[in-house]
Symmetry: D2
């Protein structure tokens, strides 16, 4: 069984370019909703807009009151006006330093609240058009700013969440391999990768294969779960659009003995909030239980069959009622 | 030279899932900004959230004061809570009727303000998952609701703007051909199509070819201009990502003697608002002027060359400085 | 239970840009292989390269000997040198007439061999670049040539198979809606559409929704089955990449009481030929049987639930072993 | 000015799944065609199917006779029956060793013929379906086989050409970053990357950005040029579909002072062979000359403007005749 957490802003009001969804909620209301989701025990909290040093004591009280663990502190470096076109890669040194300081403070906050890691998705670090960015400079800046953020309090590792695009037309760190290149170049083992299943999928990668790459190259990872149609980061619920690939992803998490959180990065725009997150938890756990029932060694045997049609026959008998 | 208009909300504050861009503006402030854009003389106004019968007299005064023509009234049927999962195709008859009444009222408003058309992009009419919608029923409802909306005040034609997705994972009316199927099935010549260049492009269609289809099948059309990377409706400025396709699009508009508005549906998130819309106007008009300079008949000759490399050599000499 | 056929060239040697797959086979060898596939009883034969008037009597003998029905005659109008850049839309009238004559002869052949339809996928009618084609002219030619082909022997209907691209960078008839526009413009009820599941899917459409559109607009259809990753016409086996969408497709075929053939358009490049086609047959039939077991009316009820998470729970219980 | 080469099989007959293009040519005929292309002076020759030790002396004679330089030896490890599902990652050790021996022999051949590098695109090393491959094992095998191939005769560097897919549904080495991960893991500075412009583009990457990454991480690179529509490896001629991105790519090649070959990997299916390759040469050289005319320092200034609309105005004045 996996430990399940949720990115808490998804429990309140969300929006897109044209509409708003669900009601705004206080942090306590979000925690109340979280506890209504069977099997959900953790939270990824957003620093500094949802939690920060001003409400630290309230956060600690609420975590205790609702018996919620902090899976991770998510540090947002995209919303401040000066971060809008990229904080970590800004041509302005002061802006870059401020972005780095956000991550350092998030580490402080994580420590204060008993969390063991922070994560950052540099969504506004990217570009849209030809000749808009100098890729040599921006890569250099990514190396410098993430190095600076990573070497602060290495006991609270920093996980970098790659994403193909949104809010920029192209984000610089768009897949696992490029993020690994960055981390290896920095050379800090306490910088890891947040593998968001959907970011991998709609970036035209296979989440299980990217996971295996992280594992092969000894890079720490932390997992976000969701699904999409391979075209956009819709943050659909798990298994809804790429079921067999999700089963394969769960299989590799088990094979690699992943003990961390599975954090739902799923957007309940038009579906019941509680039911949707419960579907993430239940489906994931049931797939895991089904694999246990079949047995990892049986699975390994299937995997090593030479004829794929024989593998498929096994998969059908393992998972399908037809 | 083409007549240029702009969808006015783009002149004020816009947002996406994670951020907000630019300052909120009153209608008058938007009109002031509009007049700062050289060559921009028209507005597409959004009913009922930007303009409506409550501010009708103010709208008329401001239009006169700033000498702005109304290119079109854009009726929004996606934001009301009951429209969130699709107003025109709602299983609830009362909701569908309310959506239709929005379009009818928009026609009334158009008439009151001296506009000659309305347009509607049914963005929330769609679905995300398998077995979420009954496609037979939803098609039937699209036929009925658009028929009802179209037969009201046919002297103010209704243009349907197709779009592949957003805000739904899939919109029902996702390209020109399907929208033509709907219109032909309804059989009302006063229902036309809004061809948004970017919607065509990121729906994996060629805007010029969709335009030619509308022309061949005698369906009225109205044009939105912008650009994108072929993957998402980024609403970039014209020519920024698909320059030669945009030149081809302008060529066909001239060939078909399009006399209507070119309405900029372009989102100035990180760029100077006035400069960005001026780029739309200037680039479009300059391409048009360049084609005039070359001459349509010379162009026709190029087009009929058997060897494409010879056509390309012509294009290079027509448009490129290398 | 559905009637299953196979496009016979897939039983012999196939190739791609770089490699060849499997051994060449005579027609009799292909028929022998076909009969080894449990549940496979029909053949779609390719005119004039696999079958033609020269081998008509042999074809008839072999069909009788192996008790194989002809699901359809597939007329190939892309391979002749003069068809390479488009036969049906060639600027050369004589070439267009020759392409039409291929279809007419295929109808003659279909009649001679006891088949009730022909189908044609105009793969080489398309373009790659801006200003390469005059879309007004090419649409006009498509109307004329398909009209001429369709009015010959209307008792043998002609099914047009749309496809987004390949062998051209863009094919003119790239989805169901555009093909419907063409057929409605021609006005011949004996021209129908071949809906190839994979062509629909990788054209960024939903096969079940395109099927419902054909049904709603009373256009005849004939079905090819396969699967892909949404990016290219890989002709994978059924259910391998888009399982829930395939289940939905089967559901709609049953709802519309489709009595025609399901013809496997699946390419066994690296998998056992017989096992791969058997997977198509078995999986399709088992899904169909599973739906019967559940009952169409139960399914309808699920479909009409307001909350999608409840629909999904039903689907999980209907089809998944977890 | 750049040095231009061509992959010689594109000068003879090519094919796709359904058709054949152009006439078969002997090596001498291909060289004769090559010399008809103005500005084309080099050849990338395919080992062992086009050149090998059996025709070595003929190859040397013809190279001298037609004054053609060998840009690179392209070693094909995908066509042999045992390589069809992946030679370098085959579960069979003997097959992997044979694939490695192909690369070693290609290095021997390169040396014999006076070429300074070999390149290999492992197109058949990949997979199609979930649970078809064990990604941990296949990554390990890629490391081992490329390490073995790379350490042989390091004075003839090996360039690995990544590609998203084709002939496999997914190739293991699908972008620059993942190939860099592999090379850094192997730790051999004499293994580099072949950056094929089109492979980068249709893998949803930006060629100029991938080039900058290779440069930043001190990985050797070799360049293939072409273009496509961002969806498939169509091997169109340069600039035909992504002109401004190609200009940006050329700009970075100049900025990084690339002195190697630009090798045309372009497929003249329906266009005049000589004219198409001449377009590659001419357009590339003219863009380069235009940049020289503008001056790299002026370009740098443009690039550092804060407002992108001002950068765009510069680009328009630099390159467009409107």
């Amino acid at each position: 069984m996996f430990k399940h957490a949720v990115i808490t802003p998804f429990l309140g009001q969300t929006k897109d370019r044209f509409s708003e969804y669900n009601e705004p909620k206080t942090l306590e209301q979000k925690f109340q909703t979280l506890r209504m989701i069977e099997g959900m025990t953790g939270a990824e909290l957003v620093y500094p807009y949802e939690v920060n040093f001003d409400n630290l004591s309230e956060v600690k009280l609420l975590l205790a009151k609702y018996d919620i663990k902090v899976a991770c502190i998510n540090v947002n470096v995209k919303v401040e006006p000066e971060f809008k076109s990229g904080g970590l890669t800004s041509p302005d040194k002061a802006v870059r330093e401020r972005a780095v300081s956000f991550i350092k403070e998030a580490k402080d906050f994580a420590q204060a609240v008993g969390a063991d890691k922070v994560q950052c998705c540099p969504l506004s670090d990217g570009y849209e058009f030809s000749f808009q960015a100098d890729y040599t400079e921006t890569w250099q800046r990514l190396c410098e700013t993430f190095a600076a953020a990573g070497e602060y309090k290495p006991e609270i590792p920093l996980f970098i969440e790659f994403k193909p695009n949104e809010v920029r037309g192209r984000c610089y760190l768009d897949n696992a391999a490029k993020t690994i290149c960055l981390i290896k170049d920095i050379g800090n083992p306490n910088i890891g990768v947040t593998l968001d299943y959907g970011h991998s999928l709609y970036g035209d990668n296979n989440p299980a294969e990217e996971l295996a790459l992280l594992n092969a190259l000894d890079v720490k990872y932390y997992i976000h779960i969701n699904d999409n149609d391979g075209k956009w980061d819709w943050d659909y619920f798990c298994g809804s659009r790429s079921l067999m690939q999700y089963i394969e992803f769960i299989y590799y998490l088990k094979k690699f003995n992943y003990q961390g959180w599975l954090t739902s990065d799923t957007s309940p725009t038009r579906w019941d909030i509680v039911k949707m997150f419960e579907a993430n938890v239940n489906m994931t756990n049931r797939i895991s239980a089904r694999i246990d029932e079949i047995g990892m060694s049986n699975f390994e045997e299937s995997l090593h069959k030479k004829e794929y049609m024989d593998i498929w026959a096994d998969l059908q008998s393992y998972f399908m009622k037809f």
